[in-house]
């Protein structure tokens, strides 16, 4: 167990090191923070300050699915594509680690990056508490939902990255899947779909979507079902990645 943990730690550290020793992490963090800031405070966007409500649900958390849909594939595209294109995967697997450890360690490093992204938005919690008396339980629950959603997108990105050597292809494929996962629960899309799809299938599509599960966290409801949904997506992504790599 100790060796397993040690190997896992070493690999996760190596991955994180590679993020922070190249400009990727910094560009990613800075871009995300600037864009979410503009979306939150922008006049015809979140309009946080002018709305005057001590609540982050509408001005801040509403944008997370759309932003993570673009930023998470950018983090996740290099998880395996880079190793595959450079041919370093074989080298990696000659080390005393197995595929499961490698998949988990790389995923953990990526998830840590996403945690950092959300952590750097916490001045907004201070801001909203300075301005009024918000419902901090609701804010923390929305943060948890946001992190789980980003982690679920990352696991999808991991699968796409393992499928192809080309990072751009991986990025586009992840983006399309994430977009479909958001849109499948998006009211206007469901509105169009119901003309052609039977009601049972429509309900299933709605159930698979990220949107209603994330919406509950935004409201301040942490449910077993929603948590399990995100965990299921993460488990699916990690196991499928592992399977793809094993077959390669």
């Amino acid at each position: 167990m100790t060796t397993w943990l040690h190997n896992f730690k070493c690999l996760a550290k190596r991955e994180l090191y590679s993020y922070f020793c190249s400009p990727i992490a910094y560009i990613f963090l800075v871009m995300f923070l600037i864009i979410i800031g503009i979306f939150t405070f922008g006049d015809s966007l979140g309009n946080f300050y002018k709305l005057g409500y001590a609540d982050l649900e509408l001005p801040f958390f509403t944008w997370h699915p759309w932003l993570f849909m673009i930023f998470v594939p950018a983090i996740g595209m290099r998880l395996w594509s880079e190793e595959l294109s450079k041919g370093t995967l074989e080298l990696l697997l000659t080390m005393p680690i197995n595929i499961k450890q490698a998949v988990l360690a790389k995923y953990f490093a990526g998830a840590f990056m996403l945690f950092l992204v959300l952590f750097f938005t916490t001045p907004l919690i201070w801001t909203v508490n300075f301005l009024g008396e918000p419902d901090n339980g609701k804010i923390l629950s929305a943060y948890l939902g946001s992190f789980l959603m980003a982690a679920a997108f990352l696991s999808i990105s991991s699968v796409c990255s393992a499928l192809t050597e080309n990072q751009v292809s991986s990025f586009i494929l992840t983006l399309v899947i994430c977009l479909l996962m958001i849109l499948s629960g998006f009211p206007p899309i469901l509105h169009i779909l119901r003309e052609y799809v039977p009601i049972q299938l429509l309900n299933l599509i709605e159930q698979v979507s990220i949107y209603p599960h994330y919406a509950n966290f935004q409201k301040g409801i942490v449910s077993l079902y929603d948590c399990f949904y995100f965990l299921a997506v993460i488990i699916w992504g990690l196991l499928t990645t592992q399977h793809i790599l094993r077959k390669k």
């Binding site: 005057g52 750097f120 499928l163 009211p187």
Partner: protein
């Protein structure tokens, strides 16, 4: 591709397995409500009512579930209503039974839904089918109805259901008496000519009528019937002594009273189409009995509170005659005001604690800020006069809502002509009184605004302030039922930026003083200029003006122009400090964290270069 295919099959099977597992888990779903006030959990009041049910309750949940062409928001809403009903049923230990009726399944069921009274809702989009979403409640032979549920009703639904269950299971529905000096019940004439609440009535009267046995009493009544459990008096203007005596005796018999007095009732003035604000036109409630209960109330003065001033336009221009009382101004120990976010009192008055009779307890439920001043009502409507008057009056905090309980003394003596044979001088039973120093706060347009329902595009009333909840809480409390209060208090407004409001009030108050002095200077200068023009005509020199007078006139004219420019500048700067704070926070949130990250990255890069 060959390599990927087994993984594709594997991934698909795994996904199907996980979706199936998710569906199973959804059947045993458990939720934690982490919101403040547990907004999405059953309140203690609901639990108390449900665990103490003596009779079986049946709720028919009428919902067009099988209809494909339903708005998604309606489907999600229906799901949440079903979950709420399920939780209620679980909590009732089998006493509450839920029956689902889907009118889209069979023609008979559609007919049944219509018979139950649930209304069909027609979405505004053409390709959406009409649908049913409503509840009918049954206890024995008694029934009640929530004919439509819309997304706007959701926050209030638990209260609506529980108040109806409470009403249906009550052996005796409390009787509430109403005496109003304004048109509360919605008649075309004065309210006291009407004994029933009609569709034009204030929402407050409608709510009382729905929840209790409401009896509208004659404005000149000589006696308050003994079976009245609570008397609500709104804006008692020039009330006859015989009615005051009836109220006095009702209190001494241990009755409960909810009283709304107002030094300037805008509603009464509007009802009487009053256009000017002279002393004769002001409609004030004077209530002679307050003195004997230990409350000093000056009906000729209105409270002005610059710190809690109410925003009157989109630019957040504040009017200190409209008072917004937030959490800090409301008593958090009393169930009546606990958890209310904000109430507004336009042209309200002030109450003061006077000679309180022995055995009477007083609790202040709401008070103004320390910067508030009591100004003669005649001077309140003119900003300039108001400012002048305010500069002469010391500022202090005033109670605006007071709760009195205990044994009271009569305000009448044996010699008074109104006194009857069964006159009571001193109360034998404890009485409860809540006095509110404003009556306009209950008027619909003050606490709510009209908007369109998102699905059906029907006009609905949307709450902006908690005034109605305050009124309902007070009634519930005086009738001795705290369960419904705890449910209603969950229906709260979204918290606003109190810091911004404080800042805005402070800066606007400062500007208001500058504005008033500038206005004064403009008036003096204009007067001087007028005098100069007059002097020109009477000096006997005809149209010839002396060079000194001309110079003086030009000087005054340019001074006046400057003053007008300054006035415009002040007007534009109303929100200057608030905008400044907004800019600072924007840079702090958008700029600071990225800057720190870039600095950290730069340091790492430099260190690596050094290595």
């Amino acid at each position: 591709m060959k390599k990927v295919f087994p993984s594709f099959v594997y991934g698909t099977f795994l996904a199907v397995f996980l979706i199936a597992l998710c569906s199973i888990i959804s059947l045993f779903n458990r939720k934690i409500d982490v919101t403040k006030n547990h907004r999405y959990s059953l309140s203690e009041g609901s639990k108390h009512i449900l665990t103490n049910l003596d009779e079986d309750v049946l709720i028919n949940f009428v919902y067009t579930e099988s209809e494909k062409r339903l708005p998604t928001s309606t489907k999600q809403l229906a799901k949440r209503i079903e979950e709420l009903l399920k939780t209620l049923s679980e909590e009732s230990d089998g006493r509450l039974v839920i029956r689902k009726i889907d009118p889209s399944r069979e023609r008979e069921l559609k007919w049944a839904a219509t018979v139950l009274g649930v209304e069909e809702q027609v979405p505004h989009r053409d390709n959406n089918e009409p649908f049913f979403l409503g509840l009918s409640l049954h206890v024995g032979t008694k029934t009640d109805l929530i004919s439509t549920v819309t997304p706007e009703d959701e926050g209030n639904l638990e209260y609506q259901i529980m108040s109806k269950i409470k009403r249906l299971t009550r052996i005796k529905i409390p009787k509430v008496g109403l005496i109003a000096g304004v048109n509360v019940v919605g008649s075309n004439a004065f309210s006291y000519e009407q004994d029933k609440v009609n569709k034009n009535a204030w929402e407050y009267a409608k709510a009382l009528d729905k929840d209790y046995d409401l009896k509208v009493l004659n404005y000149d009544t000589k006696v308050i019937p003994l079976d009245i459990d609570l008397l609500v008096v709104i804006h008692p203007e020039s009330m006859k002594r015989q009615t005051l005596y009836a109220i006095d005796q009702y209190i001494l018999e241990g009755g409960s009273l909810l009283l709304y007095v107002d030094p300037a009732s805008m509603t009464a003035m509007r009802d009487n189409s009053v256009a000017s604000f002279g002393e004769q036109q002001i409609r004030k409630s004077d209530f002679y009995l307050l003195k004997s209960w230990g409350i000093d109330y000056d009906a000729s003065k209105t409270l002005v509170d610059p710190e809690n001033a109410m925003a009157v336009d989109a630019r957040h221009k504040k009017d200190p005659t409209g008072i917004e009382l937030g959490v800090k101004s409301l008593q958090q120990e009393s169930p009546v005001t606990k958890n209310l976010q904000k109430i507004v009192m336009p042209f309200g008055g002030a109450l003061a604690i006077g000679d309180v009779p022995k055995g009477v307890n007083i609790q202040v439920l709401a008070e103004s800020s320390l910067s508030s001043k009591l100004v003669p009502t005649t001077e309140v409507f003119d900003p300039h006069k108001r400012q002048l008057s305010m500069s002469k009056i010391p500022a202090k905090s005033y109670p605006m809502i007071i709760h009195l309980s205990g044994n009271f003394l009569s305000a009448f003596s044996h010699d008074d002509p109104e006194v009857t044979d069964n006159y009571i001088k001193e109360s034998q039973q404890r009485a409860n009184i809540i006095v509110v120093a404003d009556s306009d706060l209950l008027e619909d347009s003050i606490w709510s605004q009209r908007s369109l329902d998102r699905i059906t595009y029907k006009t609905i009333r949307q709450k902006r302030f908690d005034n109605l909840i305050l009124g309902q809480n007070a009634v519930n409390y005086l009738l001795g039922g705290k369960e419904l209060i705890s449910i209603r208090n969950k229906v709260l407004s979204v918290p606003t930026f109190t810091k911004v409001e404080q800042l805005r009030n402070q800066s606007q108050e400062q500007l208001r003083v500058e504005f008033a002095s500038l206005q004064k200077r403009i008036e003096v200068t204009s007067e001087r200029l007028r005098e100069l023009y007059k002097a020109k005509g009477t000096s006997g020199q005809g149209f010839v003006i002396s060079p000194e007078a001309l110079a003086e006139r030009e000087k005054l004219k340019s001074a006046l122009d400057e003053m007008y420019i300054e006035k415009e500048r002040l007007d534009k700067n109303l929100n200057y400090s608030v905008d400044q704070l907004g800019q600072k926070l924007l840079w702090l949130n958008v700029g600071l964290a990225p800057l720190l990250i870039l600095l950290f990255g730069f340091t790492v890069w430099q260190l690596r270069k050094l290595k």
